[in-house]
């Protein structure tokens, strides 16, 4: 697992996937399956959340177990703003991003003083503190969460329309993936990947390692906040479940299956996991046993994830 390097083949695959996704709403409507457009939005939003975690874990090497806090912070920011009458996406979404970034800055500045298992536990602890704080606040809906009565408005775009919303989500995800691909090949991206490989060596070479890790952690948190802002619009509910540690775990499973440290790993994992959930839950409520076996198989035989199997992961030789 060296430094991340894109291949032309991977770019072609990404472009083809994008074209297919652009055609998806049209295809679903012609099949009279409009419901799936909303599901597709949900899948892409989780893909964005998983991608943001992949930046932190896969590229930065920081095994954060508290990513749900930032995801939920974005969702609650939009819902709370909507309650007080702010429904403009141009205002609410950047604010959701900023709130999540600020939270990541606070949690990161303290947690990043620890390493290894301690870092995993302290990020988990902070995220659970945020979870219990929100659950205990009756004005924010407590256990029930906060309903979003109106979707955000975005200029002349009608986000209430599922297809329009889907295209906004798709555009956001595509832009973030493009930016992440650029970042992975930039000086900053090389620095954080090298810190993942050998932190003490980087410090001995004169890099202020803590600052780089913190910046990476904050970018990851901010993007998770953006995903949260989108998700609350898709589902219409800012639920405490979004902040729960199981949500952090789900995002982690997504990137492990999809491919840790690969730009598209989060997308592959989110698509696979959510589609399995959607279709297998009807066959058996115990479908997660199958998921467990899949996870086991990936860890044993494909440590770079599904994306790695197709050569979309980190360069190997």
């Amino acid at each position: 697992m060296g430094l991340y390097a894109s291949s032309p083949r991977r770019r072609i695959a990404a472009a083809m996937t994008l074209v297919a996704l652009l055609a998806l709403p049209w295809l679903m409507q012609s099949l009279d399956q409009g419901f799936y457009v909303s599901l597709a939005s949900r899948v892409l939003i989780f893909a964005l959340a998983a991608t943001s975690l992949n930046l932190v874990i896969g590229f930065g090497g920081m095994i954060s177990f508290g990513h749900a806090a930032f995801f939920g912070a974005g969702a609650y920011t939009v819902a709370i703003l909507a309650e007080s009458g702010v429904v403009s996406a141009a205002l609410a979404w950047p604010l959701a991003l900023a709130v999540a970034a600020l939270l990541a800055l606070l949690i990161g500045a303290i947690s990043l003083r620890t390493r290894g298992v301690y870092f995993i536990m302290i990020t988990l602890a902070f995220a659970q503190m945020v979870f219990y704080l929100v659950v205990s606040l009756k004005s924010w809906g407590g256990d029930d969460g906060l309903l979003l009565l109106r979707r955000s408005t975005f200029g002349s775009l009608d986000l209430k329309d599922d297809t329009t919303f889907y295209f906004v989500v798709l555009a956001t995800l595509a832009l973030v993936l493009l930016a992440l691909d650029r970042l992975a090949h930039s000086r900053f991206g090389r620095v954080i990947q090298s810190i993942r490989e050998n932190e003490t060596r980087m410090e001995a070479l004169g890099y202020p390692v803590f600052s780089y890790k913190l910046v990476c952690f904050v970018i990851g948190g901010a993007l998770a906040g953006l995903a949260g802002a989108l998700l609350v619009n898709q589902s219409g509910l800012a639920s405490p479940n979004l902040l729960h540690w199981m949500q952090s775990g789900t995002l982690m499973v997504m990137i492990v299956i999809g491919g840790v440290g690969s730009v598209f790993g989060g997308v592959v994992g989110a698509v696979l996991l959510l589609l399995c959930e959607e279709f297998f839950v009807e066959i058996s409520p115990h479908w997660q046993i199958g998921l467990g076996l899949l996870l086991l198989a990936v860890v044993l035989w494909a440590p770079l994830g599904i994306a790695g199997l197709f050569g979309w992961g980190r360069s190997r030789e």
């Binding site: 090298s194 980087m202 001995a204």
Partner: protein, 255 residues
């Protein structure tokens, strides 16, 4: 050594203890600019501890370290590197899964003051050809040019030690702390490393910790002897060789 030299590094009464054991016990040392200064001493004398204290990996309990006019107390490791103090590791410490070239480009890029900033998120690194050129040049200097595309973990031990030196050189240090550069090397590899250090000696001041006495007496302008956490002698190789205390404590008083 005829002209007068300035003092580049001064270690004053530095102590460091781990529990009840004093690894350093009032060690003092002065390095002149431009010299190769060897630090020798028996196992457990505190040589590596001193390197750790100098590089910032450990904080001294007492004493002072002055480098190029700067008091190093409380300066983090990366700040010391920026001042021109670089170290190599006794146990090879590389980016083992990265290519040899990537190892060196990361080291070259660390001199952000020369390249702008590493907080650059959008521009592809592949356009930073000046950094890559400099890295290639460093690989030439340590004779690893042909291996640029290999992963560091695929190199032989001797090649890894040379790569280690290239990484340290890339930071353009004023003072190089070399912690047993010849550790674990075969005779041929050692010869290569001695030649490499001889070449570098013309450009950079060095503090060399080494057990290979042939190499030490060949390379060093001056030698300090560390015994029990204290420098018991410091001087030219011939004087050290003749010093009775040193012979008794370290070189082995055979007769």
């Amino acid at each position: 050594m005829s002209e007068r030299r300035t003092i580049l590094l001064e270690v004053r009464d530095v102590s460091k203890h781990f529990g009840g054991i004093y690894a350093l016990n009032g060690a003092s040392l002065a390095l002149e600019s431009g010299e190769v200064h060897a630090l020798i001493g028996p196992n457990g004398a505190g040589k590596t501890t001193l390197i750790h204290v100098l590089s910032g990996a450990l904080t001294a309990d007492a004493g002072q370290v002055i480098f190029n006019g700067n008091d190093l107390a409380w300066r983090a490791m990366h700040e010391r590197v920026a001042l021109g103090l670089a170290r190599s590791y006794q146990i090879t410490n590389l980016f083992s899964r990265l290519t040899v070239l990537d190892n060196v480009t990361m080291a070259v890029q660390s001199r952000v003051r020369d390249w702008g900033s590493s907080f650059s998120f959008w521009k592809p690194f592949s356009l930073d050809s000046a950094i890559v050129d400099e890295a290639q040049d460093l690989l030439d200097q340590v004779s690893l040019t042909g291996l640029a595309g290999r992963r560091a973990c695929q190199l032989s031990h001797g090649e890894q030690r040379c790569l280690e030196v290239a990484l340290v050189l890339a930071t353009k240090p004023k003072l190089l702390l070399l912690d047993e550069p010849m550790a674990g090397m075969g005779p041929e590899e050692s010869v290569r490393m001695v030649e490499l250090i001889e070449n570098l000696a013309r450009r950079v001041t060095m503090l060399l910790v080494e057990h290979d006495m042939d190499a030490v007496f060949r390379l060093a302008d001056r030698i300090s002897v560390l015994v029990g956490g204290r420098v018991i002698a410091s001087g030219a190789p011939a004087a050290i060789r003749a010093d009775h205390e040193v012979r008794r404590a370290y070189l082995g008083d055979a007769q």
